[in-house]
C-alpha cells in the first residue's frame, strides 16, 4: 500500500518537473510579454528533435545538447519577438487587442514551425535509449533518465528564480511584468526586456524538449499537447506568476499520476476538467492576485 502511494507520488513528481519547466517558459511569455504563445510546444518539439538528431548522428550525450538547444531556442525566440510581436505591439490599439492578435499570430507560427519540422524530420515517431536503467526508490522502481529529468527541471527552475530575485535584469523583468509602461518610464529598456522574456521562455521550452526526448518518443506534431498542458498549468498557478507555474506543474503532475493509477484513459480529461473548473471558480489561479 505504502509502496503504491510512494509509486504514485514519485511518478507525479517526475511528470510534474517537466510540466513545471514547460509552464515556467509559457508563464514568462504570457505573464511578462503578454503573448499567449500557442507555438510554445513547437519549441519543445524542436528541442526534442534536435537532441535526437545530435544523439543519433554524432553520438552526442543528450545532456550536452542542452548547450545547443537552450541558446538556439533563446536566439530564435528573441528574434521572433523583436520582429513579429514588437510590430504587433506598436500597431495594436489596446493591450486586449494585442493579446488576441498575438495569440492568433502565434497560431500562424505554430503552423509554420510544425511544417518546417515535418519537412526536415518527417512524420516518424522517434526515440533513443539513454540512462534507461531502473533505480530503486524505497521499493518503487523508476528509470534513471526520468530522475535526471526531474533534477534538471528543479535546478533550472531554482536558478531562474534566483536570477529573477537577485540580478538587475531580473528586477527589470519583474518590473515589466507589473506594468510595462511605467517600467519603461523608469528607464527599463522595455523592448529588450520583453524580447528577453520571450527568448527565455523559448529556451526553457527547448531544454524541456531535450529532457522529454530522453524519456518519451518524440515526433513533429507533439507540440500542441504540451502547449495545452502548459496553458493549463499557467492558469492553475496564476497568470504571470512564475513560482505559481512551478508549483502548479507539480500539482498537475500529481493529479495526472493519481488519475492514471485509477483510470489511465481519463488523465487528459481530468486536466481539462480542472482547467475548466479553475476558469469558472478561480481564474486568477492559486498564486494570482
Amino acid at each position: 500500500m505504502i509502496v503504491t502511494i510512494l509509486d504514485i507520488v514519485i511518478a507525479g513528481l517526475l511528470l510534474g518537473g517537466l510540466y513545471a519547466l514547460i509552464a515556467m517558459g509559457l508563464s514568462l511569455q504570457y505573464g511578462v510579454a503578454r503573448v499567449l504563445n500557442i507555438s510554445h510546444g513547437e519549441f519543445i518539439m524542436l528541442g526534442a528533435l534536435t537532441t535526437w538528431t545530435l544523439h543519433r548522428a554524432f553520438g552526442i550525450n543528450p545532456l550536452i545538447s542542452l548547450a545547443v538547444c537552450g541558446p538556439v531556442a533563446f536566439v530564435l525566440g528573441f528574434i521572433i519577438h523583436r520582429t513579429l510581436f514588437k510590430r504587433l505591439l506598436t500597431s495594436s490599439a489596446s493591450p486586449g487587442v494585442f493579446e488576441s492578435n498575438s495569440m492568433l499570430a502565434s497560431f500562424g507560427l505554430m503552423f509554420i514551425i510544425q511544417n518546417i519540422a515535418l519537412v526536415a524530420w518527417g512524420p516518424e515517431i522517434r526515440g533513443y535509449s539513454y540512462l534507461a536503467f531502473p533505480v530503486d526508490l524505497g521499493g518503487a522502481l523508476f528509470g534513471a533518465n526520468r530522475l535526471v529529468t526531474l533534477g534538471f527541471a528543479v535546478v533550472i527552475g531554482l536558478a531562474f528564480y534566483l536570477f529573477l530575485a537577485l540580478t538587475r535584469t531580473g528586477k527589470a523583468v519583474r518590473a515589466a511584468a507589473q506594468d510595462p509602461a511605467t517600467a519603461g518610464l523608469m528607464g527599463v529598456n522595455i523592448d529588450n526586456v520583453l524580447a528577453l522574456c520571450f527568448g527565455f521562455g523559448a529556451a526553457m521550452a527547448g531544454i524541456a524538449g531535450m529532457l522529454i526526448s530522453m524519456c518519451y518518443p518524440v515526433h513533429g506534431v507533439m507540440g500542441l499537447e504540451y502547449t495545452i498542458i502548459a496553458i493549463i498549468v499557467v492558469v492553475l498557478g496564476g497568470l504571470g506568476s512564475i513560482p505559481g507555474s512551478f508549483i502548479g506543474g507539480f500539482i498537475l503532475g500529481l493529479i495526472g499520476s493519481i488519475v492514471t493509477y485509477f483510470e489511465p484513459g481519463l488523465a487528459l480529461a481530468a486536466y481539462y476538467v480542472i482547467f475548466i473548473l479553475l476558469l469558472l471558480v478561480r481564474p486568477t489561479g492559486i498564486m494570482g492576485k
Binding site: L36, L84, R87, L88, S91, G96, E99, S100, N101, M103, L104, A105, F107, G108, L109, M110, F111, I112, Q114, N115, I116, L118, V119, L224, I228, I231, I232, V235, E263, G265, L266, L268, A269, Y272, V273, F275, I276, L279, L280, P283
Partner: protein
Amino acid sequence: MNITRVDFKKMWGPGLLLIILVLLATLSLHASTYTVILLTSILMYVVMTVSWVIFSAPTGYISLAPAAFFGVGIYTSAILGNKLPLPIVIFVGGLASFCLALLVGALTLRLKGIYFAMFTFGLVELIKHLLLWYEIKFTGTRGRFVIVVDNNTIYHVMLIILVALLLIAYLIRRSRFGLALQSIGENEDAAAHTGINVNALKTIAFAISAVFVGAAGAIMATRWTYIDPYIAFNPLFSFMPVLMAIFGGMRRFYGPILGAAIFAYLEEILITRFPYYYMLIFGTILVVTILYLPDGLIGLIQKVQRRISGGQHANT
C-alpha cells in the same frame, strides 16, 4: 432620381449574391462529381466562418469552440443517422449544438477576453477525450459508421443551411440585437449601463452561431462515412473559421464569405499540389494578414478602390 440611385447601389450586393446562389443551386445538374464535392467543402467553410463571425466579430470574444459544435453535429448524425430521416437528423444536430452553446455560454461568457478563448479551446479537447474514453470503455470500439448520402444531396443541404445562415446573419446585423452586440464589443461596461442585458445577449448570439455549425457537421458526417473522436473534434475546425474570417476581413458582411471561399479553394489546391508545404503557406498567410492587413482582403480591396477613385473619400 437620387432615391433610385441609392436603391440600386444597395441592391447590387444582395442581387449579385442571389445570382450566385441560383447558379450554385442549379450547378449540380451539369457539373462533375469532383466540382460538387469541392463546392460542398467550400460551402462548409463558408457556413463555419459566417457562423463564427455572427458572435465573435461584433463582441470581440474569440471563440475556439466551432470544432465542439461541429463534432456534436457529426456525432448526432452517427448516432441517429440510421434511425431518423435526414432532415430531422440535421435539425437535431443543430439543436444539440444550440443547447451545448447555451449551457457553455451561460457558464463562461462572464470570462473576459483571452480566458474565454482558452476555455472554449479546452472544451473541444475535454469532449474529445471524454468521448474517446466512453467509446473504448463502454461501446468497445473507437469509431462509428455513418449512413451514406449521395453527393448531390449533401451539396444541396449544405447550400440550404448556408442560405438560412446568411439570412439570419444579415437580419442580426441589421437589428437592434446586432447593434447591442456591437456595443458590447466596443465597451461592455458602457453597454451594460445603457440597459443591455449583456450576458443574456452574448449567450443567445453564441448559441445561434452554434446551430448552423452543428447542422453542417451533421450533413458532412455522411460524406466521411467513418468517424471517431479525433476526426469529429479536430481542433483545426476551430482554427479555420478564425483564420478565414481574419483573412477576409470582418468589418463588412461579405468579408468572411470571401475569405472562407478563397481560403477553402486555396486549401484544396495546396493540399493537392504542395501537400508537404500547405501548413507553412497557411501559417505565413495568417501572420502576414495579422501584421499587414488588419482589415483583411476586404480592407485591401477598399484601399485599392479608394486609391483608384482619387482619394475622394480619403478620410472615411
